[in-house]
Structure formats: C-alpha cells, structure tokens
C-alpha cells in the first residue's frame, strides 16, 4: 500500500509519476536517480539518509525501527 505520492526524500507530491515504493513509502524518480549517484561526501547525503529512515521507522505496514531490526538480528544470533 502506498501511503501517498509524496516523496519521502524531497517531500514533494508527484502524483502519477513513476518512482520507487518501498514498504508503502514513495521515492520520486528524481530522488531515486540522485540516490543512485550520491556520494558520501555530498553535503546532501544526510537528506537522503534522514528521508530513508522513514521506511524503517513508520508503523502499520512499514518496517519496525532500526533499533528493532538490530534487536531482531541480535536475537537471531
């Protein structure tokens, strides 16, 4: 289920456009392309990481928080 057509990175509504939908979170084609090319030294890198946190943090159909996933991985050891 897509939570909306507002990109989780640039927070711009891009209805009807392609792009990624990861666990109900929409990433617009422009941001997807930038993510594919972004370097860790890019000042905008943090914008992408904080945007992508939404995939892991939201509730409902989304994934549990990063901490929970880490706990899950510890539990599987």
């Amino acid at each position: 289920m897509v939570t909306g057509s507002t990109c989780i990175i640039c927070e711009t509504a891009r209805a009807g456009e392609n792009g990624l939908v990861v666990c109900g979170n929409y990433i617009c084609p422009l941001c997807e392309e930038k993510i594919t090319k972004v370097s860790v030294s890019d000042p905008a890198y943090e914008c992408y990481t904080s945007g992508l946190k939404k995939i892991w943090r939201c509730t409902g159909n989304c994934l549990p928080s990063g901490d929970s996933i880490f706990l899950a991985s510890l539990a599987r050891r």
């Binding site: 370097s39 901490d67 929970s68 706990l71």
Partner: protein, 232 residues
Amino acid sequence: MPGFWTLAVASMIHGIILLVSYVAQNSFPKPLTEEEEQYYLEKLAEGDEKARDILIERNLRLVAHIIKKFEGSGDDFDDLISIGTIGLIKAVNTFNNNKSSRLATYASKCIENEILMYMRSKKKMRAEMSLYEPIGTDKEGNEIHFMDVLSTDAEAVSEMVSRIMDKEQLWRKLKKLTPQERKVLVLRFGLRGKERKTQKEIAKKLGISRSYVSRIEKRAIDRLSEQFLAEA
C-alpha cells in the same frame, strides 16, 4: 540518572514489543529465493517498475544483516540502516543480470561498501572543523563561532595596502623622469621585480661610464625627492 535508565529500558522494551508484533504478523519482507530473484530481475529488464520495488523491499533484511558487522563502531544504527538502504538502491539500479553472480551477493558488497565509504568520510571529517562550529557563548549569551575568534592581523593588511599605494605613487613619479633616469633607478633598485644591479653592471649594459651612471642616479633621486617634497 534513574530517569535515563528508565528511558533506556522503556526504549528497549518498546523495540522488543515492535519486533515481537512484527515477527508475529510475519510481515517482515522475506528474502527472495534464487528463482524469485531471477523472475523479478527479468520483469525489471522488461520494464516492470514494480519489480524494482520488490527487489529492494525483499532485500531490506540483508541491510539489517550487514549492519550487524558494524556493531560497536559507535555509529547510530538508524543512520547505518539508511546508508545501507542507499547501498541497496544503488545495487538494484546498477546490477547487471548478465553476470553469473546473484543480486543478493552484489547488493551485500554495495551495502557494505556504502557503509565503509561513509565511515571513512566521517573519519576524515573529524580532523576538520567548520568555521561555523559553535565554541561557546559570550557574556550576553550570544553564541560564539570558531570564525569569530579567528582573525588576520589588521596591521598587516593595512601595511600591505599602504605599501601597494606607495609603489603606485612612486611609479607615477618615475614616469616624470627621463627614460634614462628611470632605467637607471629601475635597474639600480630592482624595481618592478627586476634584479638589482651595481653601477658598473648598469654602465656596461647602457654603454656608458660608471661615474656617469652615478651622476644620473643622484640626479634622478634628487628629482624624485623634489616631487615628493612638492606634494607634501
């Protein structure tokens, strides 16, 4: 301090509850089997954009698995997980299905590489300091930045400007001398980046006697002095 521990324990319990409910719902995206992976890669090659979503979603567990390696690095798990996700998106978008390796193998390398690059960049950044770094507050409570306590020597700048102005003034006055007088002074005192020469060297260069060079030099200096005195 007890408040901190309460918060820490509450946070951990919250994480465990989320995890348990998640596992119970069995909604954690399961990794793709080799056949499924191949199927979605082929669909993606045919232009099915939904296949890309599935390839990313079903490899998110891989990100969490790789993050385990970096436990104890001191980095925030949420940050690492996001960085790993960037690595995964890069992997899915750049994977070449014609090669024999699996996407999961390639993605693992991309995720790990992204995290390592981030860590290297952060290590490098630690040696640097921003000019806007807050270093404290003044008596009135205003924030002081690193750049506020840095300065160039004000006198050095003013001296430099003054020297440039003096040079320009001297050159304007030199232009009022005869070409021969100007040439002698330029060579004798190494003006305008020229090499300083002795009277004997100048005499040889201009094809005149050393004593004549001496007289030209004296006359030129006198005329320059007159100009400066007249201006003063």
